[in-house]
Symmetry: C2
Subunit: 180 residues, 2 copies
Amino acid sequence: FKQTNQGYSNRGMSLESDINVTNTYYLETDQAIIHKKPTPVQIVNVKYPKRSAAVITEAYFKQASTTDYNGIYRNKYIDFEAKETKNKTLFPLANIHEHQIKHMESIIRHGGICFFLIRFSPFEETYYFPAENLFPYWYEKQKDGRKSIPYPKIKENGTIIPFHYQKRVDYLSIIDKLYF
Amino acid sequence: FKQTNQGYSNRGMSLESDINVTNTYYLETDQAIIHKKPTPVQIVNVKYPKRSAAVITEAYFKQASTTDYNGIYRNKYIDFEAKETKNKTLFPLANIHEHQIKHMESIIRHGGICFFLIRFSPFEETYYFPAENLFPYWYEKQKDGRKSIPYPKIKENGTIIPFHYQKRVDYLSIIDKLYF
Ligand SMILES: [Mg+2]
Ligand SMILES: [Mg+2]
């Protein structure tokens, strides 16, 4: 593949699509079994037309009670949340909810590997950021402290993830270094 | 609680509700973090009314590509499928799909604990049935063999799960015996 094509593909995709491509590659090469959880939906009305599939005619988005992705890698339970920002100087904590933090704390307590994948889209950079390193910032925010993590701190306490054509967000390579 | 109340509660609930009550109890007592995956839905149309929540006005049920539940217990990745039958003599294999079997095989290969919770509702009995013990029956069915597992084989190769008021389907007690 030409470098230019790679650059183009990279720019065009959202973090979520890149992670999905990566997870499919992990699955097909039998390295890890990691899936995105379906979007939680509160179903209110369903119609059952004759001779065709059931149609949901009224439903609402529910707030997710956990994280975006989970699965298994090298005998370990894996759990993570993906977040993308257009900001160039900081990562905002506004969209990280208390029940998600509690969930992640509890995963770590039970022996799982838990982290954030954070993309700064203006730089096309994606970071592996251990959940443990995010908690102190989140609690500071709860105590009316700053509402974000400065970009240099993400660089300092996280690890940049290299881009490959199939492993677009190769977070397992970081887990290998950190845990094995 | 009176015995009669317990009996009443037990009869009234579906396997899924019983598992959800159990998982909530496990979560609140910090024993395990196990959640039901949301129902996968293909969203086709969404309306955004002013001053109120987005409404999904057209969506379809998608076939689940994995299993019903997953999570972590004592450092181990847990993954299972719940199935209820009204049959009194056999457990039908019709609703277990190839991609689910492949998923479960791969979970086991990667070090996870994988099983079925099978309820015979006429007997109010729920069995822990290791995925490994189901695979041979499923492959036999694929080769035009029998399409079900006889009830006595479920008893023989599975473990009956005791009913408790809060731990309605206490499958962790079986995992403790089998894996720890
Ligand atoms: Mg996300
Ligand atoms: Mg089921």
